[in-house]
């Protein structure tokens, strides 16, 4: 299922944060969204899930297949959110509940969205933990988030996002809080899942290196607008927009 965002505008406190964003996510492809902080990358991700801050007003169209997510009631949106569209946040230490076992956090939404019973949900959770390569999933499922390392926690957060077999995954800076050595593993995992499950992934990141490693298409945002969209090779090697050029030139090293 494709997700297409067209002319998305978000106003918060009288200020226009997004000024007409167009993006298309396709199954089995990773779409990278780059830009400085404050450019509206995260807001775009949050708007898709209806998680915008209180008081924000969104206009335009976010079409998941034939349905417009922006026009949905809260109840309808709840069936989509966590089910068909899932999200992975930046910091796995704060995006998981510290006092619930990861098993609880992995099965809760499965039972709600998929109507599984306790036993089925647990079996699926164990399977998912194996899929994101958590060692000893049978034992791991009864542990708490603090008992895992940062990389493991982010893998578990990805497992939670994947639990209801979403069509679209929004990953907001999924590796920023991780060490580079761990980041490599999480990026490989994301890329593999995208290819195997045919997920449409929106990868929000400021790191053009990360972008270059996993994204198929790259969009660059500036001040609430997408200034450039194109295949990875073209945007990163031969950018058309001066802002993209400036972003690449500001990177340290011999790549410029």
């Amino acid at each position: 299922m494709t997700l297409s965002i067209s002319d998305l505008k978000v106003t918060l406190g009288g200020r226009e944060i997004l000024r007409g964003v167009d993006l298309d996510l396709r199954p089995g492809r990773v779409h990278g969204l780059a830009g400085e902080s404050g450019s509206g990358k995260t807001m775009t991700g949050l708007a898709v899930l209806g998680l915008l801050p209180h008081g924000a007003r969104a206009t335009g169209r976010i079409a998941l297949g034939e349905r417009d997510l922006l026009g949905m009631s809260a109840k309808e949106l709840n069936t989509v959110r966590g089910g068909e569209v899932a999200m992975v946040f930046q910091d796995p230490a704060t995006s998981m509940h510290p006092m619930l076992t990861i098993g609880r956090q992995l099965t809760e939404h499965m039972r709600h969205h998929l109507g599984l019973d306790r036993k089925q949900a647990r079996a699926r959770a164990v399977e998912l933990l194996g899929q994101v390569r958590i060692p000893g999933p049978e034992a791991a499922i009864d542990r708490y988030p603090h008992q895992f390392s940062g990389g493991m926690r982010q893998r578990i957060a990805i497992a939670i996002a994947l639990a209801c077999s979403p069509k679209v995954l929004i990953a907001d800076e999924p590796t920023t809080a991780l060490d580079v050595t761990v980041q490599a593993g999480v990026l490989r995992l994301l890329r593999g899942l995208c290819d195997d499950l045919g997920l449409a992934v929106l990868l929000v990141t400021h790191d053009l290196g990360v972008m270059s490693a996993v994204a198929d298409e790259v969009s660059v945002m500036k001040e609430g607008l997408v200034v450039e969209t194109g295949p990875r090779g073209q945007v990163l090697r031969d950018p058309l927009h001066p802002y993209t050029r400036a972003l690449l030139d500001s990177l340290p090293g011999e790549t410029a």
Partner: protein, 318 residues
């Protein structure tokens, strides 16, 4: 924006300001095995020099920094600052000679007092140095913030602004050694390089040394004169930034650098270093890195390479 001006600082022999020699720091928790967070690390920082300390989380770099400030007690080994031994911080007033060490902590949301005005907190630093001529507003200006911020409380600021305030507070005490313990990791991506550069510039301009701790090699590379790479409580490689970056010699440094994805548009996934950092309570026999090392030899499993600047049997000094 290029780094040519920052990384090619003149190479002159400067007086050693801080010297850490064979430091061991242990954490004791009742009912748990003893953890040697720092297991024999040696390091020097000269005046006007920026040393970057990098390594994965859990390798003991923060513990080392805290020991230098006197926040952790050394189990063995010595820390000397400007000729004075660094003693653990107690309830009584710190030895004046040691107030020249100032630290900027990781999380500006918890290192500033939420109930006091920013200006008052910076004034604490000024009082420490006995400085009666500088005002907190001057310091705010130096870190690139408007002067009138002094009358506000920390909650009114963003993460990047708070970290600048924390830096202003540390600078107010006129440190000759500034320590940044992951000062940028809680900040927004675009603010990271800015704050790191700011710390470097302010420290070097005032002739102070800077020990900058981070897990982000690409930022450390921008600002450090020398890089020390830490793994499981030991410093495995230390050298000039360009040398370490262009010609890493320890297999661990190679793995760390190899894991940084290049923004070349080629779509190459970075190499993965297999395995997790081992439990510091139970470090492996021999070289600490051998279970994850792609080129481990027999000697690595048996004897620990305790020499420098590259602690690896492949680079044993003759």
């Amino acid at each position: 924006m290029t780094d040519s001006t920052t990384t090619t600082a003149p190479v002159t022999e400067r007086a050693t300001l801080l010297s850490v020699d064979d430091l061991v720091v242990e954490h004791r928790t009742p009912g748990r095995p003893l953890v040697r967070a720092v297991a024999g690390a040696s390091l020097t920082v000269a005046a006007g020099e920026v040393v970057g300390l990098v390594g994965e989380s859990g390798c003991g770099k923060s513990t080392l920094a805290r020991a230098v400030c006197g926040l952790n007690r050394a189990a063995s080994g010595t820390i000397t600052f400007g000729g004075h031994p660094v003693t653990p911080l107690g309830l009584r007033r710190r030895d004046r000679a040691l107030s020249g060490i100032q630290m900027v902590f990781q999380d500006p949301y918890s290192s500033l007092n939420p109930r006091r005005k920013v200006g008052a907190q910076i004034a604490d630093g000024l009082r420490t140095a006995g400085d009666t001529t500088t005002s907190p507003a001057d310091l705010l200006e130096r870190v690139g913030l408007p002067r009138d911020f002094a009358g506000r409380h920390p909650h009114e600021f963003s993460g990047g602004q708070r970290q600048r305030i924390a830096i202003a507070r540390a600078l107010a005490a006129r440190p000759s050694l500034l320590i940044g313990d992951e000062p940028i990791s809680a900040l927004d991506a675009s603010a990271q390089a800015q704050v790191a550069r700011l710390m470097r510039d302010l420290a070097v301009d005032s002739g102070a040394g800077l020990l900058f701790i981070s897990h982000d090699l690409s930022v450390v590379r921008l600002i450090a004169d020398r890089i020390a790479v830490m793994y499981l409580g030991k410093i495995v490689e230390i050298g000039r930034t360009e040398e370490v970056w262009t010609d890493p010699r320890h297999p661990y440094t190679r793995a760390l650098l190899g894991a940084i994805p290049a923004p070349d548009g080629a779509g190459v996934l970075p190499a993965e270093l297999p395995g997790d950092v081992p439990d510091p309570a139970d470090p492996p026999q021999g070289c600490r890195f051998h279970p994850r090392c792609p080129v481990a030899m027999d000697v690595c499993r048996e004897r620990e390479p305790d020499f420098g600047p590259v602690a690896c049997w492949l680079h044993e000094p003759a």
